[in-house]
Amino acid sequence: MTTCSRVSRRQFLQSTATIATAVTVGLVGAPAIVRAQGTSVKLGVLHPVTGALSYSGQQGRLGATMAIEDINAAGGIKGLGKIDPVLGDAQSTPDGGTAEVEKMNSAGVCCIVGGYASNICLATTQAAARYELPYVVDVGVADGIVTRGLKNTFRFGPGFGVISKTALANLVAINDQAGKPAKTVMIVHEDTLFGSGLAKLLNAQLPQSGFEILETIPHPTPTRDFNNVVLKIKAQNPDLVIPANYYNEYVLLARTMQQQQVKPKGIYSVLGGAASSYKFVKEFPDAAQYIMDCNHWFDPRNEKALALKKKVEAKGEFYTYEVYMNYSCISLVADALARAGSADRAKLTEALASSTFSGHLMPYGPTKFVNGQNEGAAPVNTQVLDNDIKVVLPATFANAKPVFPRPA
């Protein structure tokens, strides 16, 4: 009992002293206390590092922590000190993500970065909104994430609408250039928000561009066998197969297609979980060859992006989009914190909303947030060529020409 009362008296004295100090320098309230403690600023880093999405989640965490290490090594954020990451595991489910948001809020983070999957981001951004806690979505592409009027939610990367529009325009361009060899399409998508949403958009837009959709096949995540799906593809023999799913299923699908010797004129993914992955290309080069993807990708002309690639590869890891997108998002938050000059949530939200950040690694236009969406964000088209991933469109960033249809 005596110990208890001593500690609480000490705490009381400490906080009184803190408030007294704050009042002396003319600042009152929570941000002042944070500043008085003064050596670090807490930042939530939330990814699905276990469960079905664990690989992508771990890659995302890698990118975020590398960015934080770099920022801290350079002296942290001016006036606020070093970034103290609070790591969270969404366990590949929206519920898991929401629980972590609650914990991070209690831990007193100034902002959360991450989420990865669309369904997780939808839940976590909403949970964070209750505490007016700024949230920067790292990947989650469903448009619903930024169209609900949540003032705390920011997405640095592109959403479905922009991605599917770009993907379609680029598909038509590639097909036209090759003399229109592709007319029929089959879509294979995972059945949560990400895959279903994309399939719906493609179903609405592809026929307008003269493509005939033979069938749209949904599947759950995880799926343990793609034989039936591949049999359907084999029977209908489409010119193009468009997969929209996460890494494990994408690899299983591509390998089963190779196994069953199904060779369409092209595999054109939109946000294909594995099609723009060095891991996939290295582990299964035959299955990956000539696959095209419209996806997030780093700016191949950006020195910083190339330097990070070397650093990630030196760690024995793959330079996947989760890595550089999270790196960019953390840099974005650090820039906003420096401009806000405070870890106060309202001030940080304001600083993020007015951001024109250009120190990122992505091939984007000028950063400008409208309703939380970065209007400068855009995907690029990549293709697996000679065991490497090349950018084939848009021409301004391209380092190779598309090979289509796939050589026999």
Binding site: T50, P218, H219, P222, D225, L231, K232, A235, Q258, Q259
Partner: protein, 290 residues
């Protein structure tokens, strides 16, 4: 959709995956036939066996088809010990207690796996995992063909063991008439444990045949054991040929319902059969009428 070019490969795929189901169901039906309990720990033991096969490959470099010869005896011993020292004593000879004890063991094993290895999905990458055999109408995956042959060999061995060995005769005697067997000098507790051990060894074999083309996580066994329960009901509780033929049928049904109803709804067919069998022929295809 109804063209033979799709239907034949789908049926063949179903047969191949059915053979793996058969191995899991054989263990379950054997334990039921003798101990008259549904072993709820079967799925958790399958997860544990998959982890064992995974780490045998990752840490010791043992090919799963080789480690089957190591893991089957280890899991036999594990099953024997579980029945002899935990399930038997804890249930005080009451069947309902046994049921609850196996349920408790399932919870403990699954959570121990979750604690030790987290919820991550792990796979191994062996060279033959995605090899195929061209049989004209379709390509058959090598690991599945191996599993198919192995399932038949195990069923045959089990049948021979039960028919021609003294232990087999003792198992059958205990299954038919426990008190009579005891009076004839058979150690019933030992035979119970041997049967549980055999059932667990079947699970270990299934795991080794499954792992080359499949993945493992702590809850992976659940999906299989639900299917195995259906097979045991379809084939008849306690019947070895029933488990084998029931499993092949269920494999085909699963494959075809996946084809026609889509992957998201593929398992509906299995559970429809479960309900229909319970309504129309509760004793199953090969089960003795109660």
């Amino acid at each position: 959709m109804l063209s033979p070019a799709i239907l034949i490969p789908a049926v063949l795929n179903g047969l191949l995956i059915g053979a793996i189901y058969a191995l899991i169901a054989l263990g379950l039906t054997l334990i039921y036939g003798v101990l008259h309990i549904i072993n709820f720990a079967h799925g958790a033991l399958l997860s544990a066996a998959l982890f064992a096969a995974f780490f045998a490959y990752r840490l010791l470099g043992l090919d799963p088809y080789f480690s089957v010869f190591l893991l089957a005896p280890i899991f036999f011993a594990l099953g024997y010990g579980l029945q002899r020292f935990i399930i038997g004593p804890a249930s005080h000879g009451d069947d309902r207690n046994m049921l609850l004890v196996t349920l408790g063991i399932a919870v403990i094993i699954e959570n121990a796996l979750l604690y030790a290895f987290r919820a991550d999905t792990r796979t191994i990458d062996v060279a033959y995992a995605f090899r195929t055999i061209d049989i004209g109408v379709t390509f058959l995956a090598v690991p599945r063909v191996v599993g198919f042959i192995a399932a038949f060999l195990v069923a045959l061995w089990l049948w021979l063991f039960m028919t021609f060995t003294d232990t087999g005769r003792a198992i059958r005697a205990v299954a038919k008439e426990k008190l009579g067997a005891e009076l004839a000098g058979i150690d019933v507790a030992h035979i119970y444990a041997v049967t549980f051990g055999l059932g667990t060894a079947c699970v270990a074999m299934a795991a080794c045949l499954l792992i080359p083309a499949y993945y493992v996580n702590p809850s992976v066994g659940e999906a299989f054991v639900l299917v195995a329960f259906t097979i045991v009901v379809l084939g008849g509780m306690g019947s070895v040929p029933g488990a084998l033929i029931g499993a092949l049928l269920i494999g085909i049904v699963e494959s075809l319902s996946g084809l026609f109803l889509g992957e998201s709804l593929g398992q509906i067919g299995i559970f429809l059969i479960f309900i229909i069998v319970l309504l129309v022929r509760p004793s199953g295809l090969f089960g003795a009428r109660a």
